[in-house]
């Protein structure tokens, strides 16, 4: 589904990642780890096609569902209108199932500007469901979620993987998720880790 080989990334003139290689199959999730500023976000932006890598190759689906630090929600629109808009743009599924998945039915008519940070994040995550994309690329999806909703997120992600989807995400907390993780710490010109090596390690 996603294949990244010998990827090098430069951002703002600073060399961040070198020779990163990994692969994500359908049904797999890959968790990227590493300290702040190592280049996790840049890697995700490369996968989403927003940024061009300096070298290396990425083969990813044409359109991916990307969730950045900013949720991309319009404060004047209601929760339902925000979801409907993204569902229309992607031509994906209707927003009802996504509302149920993140317990947003009661908030459906509320203007998004009035939501709390955690509720906004839940709406941002519900957006991933309406895109209908197979590959989810998520940058710290659990930020500002409470423990209960982190569990909910893991359940939704697990269901997505079981349906044949894939995901790449960064996080600083431990998720109750059966996923490989790729530690980018000390990556500069050293790390060259493939996910198959992690599968073996897990077994």
């Amino acid at each position: 589904m996603l294949k990244v080989s010998n990827l090098s990334v430069v951002r703002g003139g600073i060399s961040l990642l070198q020779d990163v290689t990994f692969e994500v199959q359908a049904g797999q999730a890959l968790v990227l780890r590493g300290p702040n500023g190592i280049g996790k976000t840049s890697l995700l932006r490369c996968i989403s096609g927003l940024q061009t890598p300096t070298s290396g190759e990425i083969s990813a689906p044409e359109s991916v569902a990307y969730a950045a630090h900013a949720d991309g929600l319009k404060g004047q629109l209601s929760v339902l209108e925000n979801l409907k808009f993204w569902a229309d743009i992607y031509g994906g599924r209707g927003p009802e199932a996504a509302l149920v998945a993140y317990d947003l039915e009661d908030l459906a008519q509320r203007p998004t500007a009035n939501l709390s940070a955690g509720q906004k994040r839940r709406l941002g995550l519900a957006r991933m469901l309406v895109t209908g994309c197979a590959l989810w690329v998520m940058d710290e999806p659990t930020v500002s979620l409470d423990a209960q909703n982190v569990t909910k997120f893991c359940t939704v992600l697990q269901a997505h993987l079981q349906a044949g989807g894939g995901a790449v995400l960064t996080t600083h907390i431990d998720l109750e998720l059966s996923a490989e993780s790729l530690d980018l710490t000390g990556n500069i010109a050293t790390a060259q880790i493939s996910s198959s090596a992690f599968e073996e390690a897990l077994e």
Binding site: S63, V64, D88
Partner: protein, 218 residues
Amino acid sequence: MIQLFTRDIGLAVRSGGGFGLALIFFLIVVVLIPFALGPDQSTLALVAPGVLWLGALLACLLSLDRIFGLDYEDGSLDLLATSPLPLESVYIAKAAAHWLTTGLPLALAAPLLGILLNLSFESGKVLCFSLLLGTPALSLIGAFGATLTLGVKRGGLLLSLLVLPLYVPTLIFGAQAVHSASLGQTFDIPLVLILAISLGAAAILPFASGVALRVNLR
């Protein structure tokens, strides 16, 4: 693309969307002109075509940085760029929404405001028509400028400096058409030239803006 277009119109009309800002600005400029120039009706009629076109142009300029700026700040633009929608279509949808919420109301209000400057009804019709043909060019060129200055903090100044020279031909032909009409001369050539600018902008700028967006989102 239609969805983005309708969403942008909806956002512009709702509270905080800035719809009406251009119209009010235009009204203020036109109302203040007689105070600045004095009440002599023949002087006002003489400057009316130029003042009305200039007022509409400046009013159009006011909301340009919102076209992409708001979506850039809240992250929507990143998400749109990763969606199946091409960035060229994003540009077209946004420029069209800007025209419908800014250019079209200005064009329709202009003949009424022309009365304040002693512009005859016949010239008012030509003014309305020239603005209908010319404001699409203003929106298209302005939205292109907005893609170039994307991500520049307080980019409004830079945007104005970039866009104003590109607005000059439209302004010259627009004011010329109304001026000729008020003198009873033929005005079809400037109108055709305005239309040419609008069509040329619609043909070329989507591609240029697509590239500019891709570079600036990096």
